[in-house]
């Protein structure tokens, strides 16, 4: 396992320029060819937000303001990281397949693909973050010191999803069944995470803690702590411990699978 880590780190140092280039080209590829181009990066999230706002505020009439923030802003704060995670859950599982020519036609380290794939999506995420901050400011909520913890949660998010994309990407490369499984589970993950409800409001302690083992919950709630609840990340130690345990399990899984499959993937793709 130490060997795998060393190999992955060495490849990343050697290919650092290519990572930048490939991230850029992946980003351009996503939006080029459509007449509205870049605006899709904003239109898609806006539609999702509108639909959920409509269903909860108008339909179910349950969208009450939270901690002095309108329900819509509360939705925005939690959905902001979800847009990234949503792309990475399914897209991450497909990333090695998507870039199979890199693996089958030339000498290219497989572990690089999840990294630049994450960075490419991070650009979109950063743009949405800026828009969100502006939106909050326009609504009368100026940026404050609590927003400083956003980079921390962003780091957790990217770290976890690089590991996820490596693990899921390799398994999907071997079998399309796994990719289909991830696609099927994607909406389950959404509803079982604290994106459209506050996990802290759940009365059953067991369920509350179990949900925190889901990184999506921890990160989405983390963004809300910064934007809405105005609390620091160290005030919720349970979340951090749960996240670390999940992260470690996925890291070990990813490294084990990497060691086993790294040399087999070019032959089966």
């Amino acid at each position: 396992m130490i060997e795998s880590i060393k190999e992955i780190v060495r490849d990343h140092i050697q290919y650092k320029d290519q990572i930048k280039m490939l991230a850029k080209s992946d980003l351009i590829k996503t939006y080029r060819g459509a007449a509205l181009g870049w605006s899709w990066a904003i239109i898609k999230p806006l539609i999702t937000l509108f639909v959920f706002w409509f269903a909860f505020s108008v339909g179910l009439r349950s969208g009450k303001p939270v901690a002095g923030y309108s329900f819509f802003l509360w939705l925005v704060a939690g959905f902001l990281p979800w847009f990234f995670m949503q792309e990475l859950i399914t897209g991450g599982a497909a990333c090695i397949r998507k870039y199979s020519p890199l693996v089958t036609k030339m000498k290219f380290p497989i572990s690089i693909i999840p990294t630049y794939f994450n960075i490419s999506h991070l650009y979109t995420h950063l743009a949405l973050l800026v828009i969100t901050i502006v939106l909050f400011a326009v609504s009368g909520h100026m940026p404050d010191i609590y927003l400083l913890q956003i980079p921390f949660y962003m780091l957790l998010m990217v770290a976890f999803f690089i590991v996820w994309a490596l693990l899921a990407g390799m398994l999907s490369a071997i079998s399309k069944d796994f990719q289909n499984l991830v696609n099927a589970l994607s909406s389950a993950i959404f509803w079982m995470s604290g994106i459209i409800y506050n996990v802290e409001d759940i009365e059953n302690t067991w369920i509350r803690v179990m949900l925190k083992f889901n990184p999506v919950t921890v990160i989405s709630s983390g963004y809300r702590r910064a934007f809405i609840y105005k609390k620091w990340f160290w005030q919720d130690k349970v979340s951090l411990v749960c996240f670390s345990i999940t992260f470690l399990i996925f890291l070990i899984l990813a490294l084990t699978v990497y060691k086993k499959l790294r040399k087999e993937i070019p032959d089966v793709l």
């Binding site: 036609k105 079998s175 070019p266």
Partner: protein
């Protein structure tokens, strides 16, 4: 020719596991009981190539030539044995592959060169040569999806041939393009080979082309080396077999 060995195969075997379905392959990851058939594309192969040598590889389809070249390129890995390769390998295999269809020819040049490990300055230095050699005119700034397969191959050859390889691998690449371009390709390979430090591995079914470029010939069958010697002897062996 120097004595430095640039390619060494030490008892190399490449075994492909053939499962019945992709589901069986997935199960096979977790259990050794799932049945599969073995196909040894390369079977216990050992040889050395020294710096500056030019080697032709002969063999029928399925003899193991492509697998062998893929392992030298570093695309695929041996099941057993060890491979040492020294220097930058450029492979003229599947010339049209690995391009991004939405990007222009010029963007693809930068893209591919960068993937081969060249930095911006090095790419700037060879870009004009590549454009000139590919000779596809205004198409250079058009997206690759509008290219004909011949144009893609020309661009692919131009990039690989101008990337200053230490080891050049040519696999049937000369059968693309029109007669003029084929001639140009041969001249380019001859030019690269004029440098004594460049090693050539050449796969072809055309015995005359092989004789033009290579001094040594290796004949393969079913993943094993049947014959290894001078080009004339190798051709004789291959023809009479």
């Amino acid at each position: 020719m120097s004595n430095e060995v640039v390619v060494r195969f030490d008892n190399v075997t490449k075994m492909y596991k053939l499962y019945k379905s992709s589901r069986a392959r997935f199960k096979g990851l977790f259990s050794k009981k799932v049945p599969y058939k073995e196909n040894k594309a390369v079977n216990g192969m050992s040889f050395e190539v020294r710096k500056g040598e030019s080697v032709a590889l002969f063999g029928r389809n399925g003899a193991g030539k492509s697998t062998m070249l893929k392992m030298i390129t570093g695309v695929t890995f041996p099941t057993e044995g060890e491979i040492t390769v020294k220097g930058k390998v450029c492979a003229l295999l599947e010339l049209g592959a690995g391009f991004d269809a939405e990007s222009t020819g010029r963007e693809n040049i930068r893209f591919k060169c960068s993937l081969m490990g060249m930095n911006d300055e090095e790419i700037d230095a060879v870009e004009d040569d590549i454009v000139q050699f590919a000779d596809i005119g205004d198409y250079m700034d058009q997206p690759l999806r509008s290219y004909s397969s011949g144009m893609k191959a020309r661009l692919g050859f131009a990039i690989n041939a101008n990337a200053q390889p230490d080891i050049l691998i040519v696999d049937e690449a000369l059968s693309v393009g029109d007669r003029n371009f084929q001639k140009k390709c041969k001249e380019k390979i001859a030019e690269i080979m004029a440098d004594d430090n460049v090693t050539l591995l050449f796969v072809t079914h055309s015995l005359t082309t092989a004789r033009d470029f290579c001094k040594r010939g290796i004949v393969l069958e079913k993943g094993k080396i049947l014959f290894d010697g001078t080009i004339d002897e190798a051709i004789k062996f291959y023809e009479t077999k």
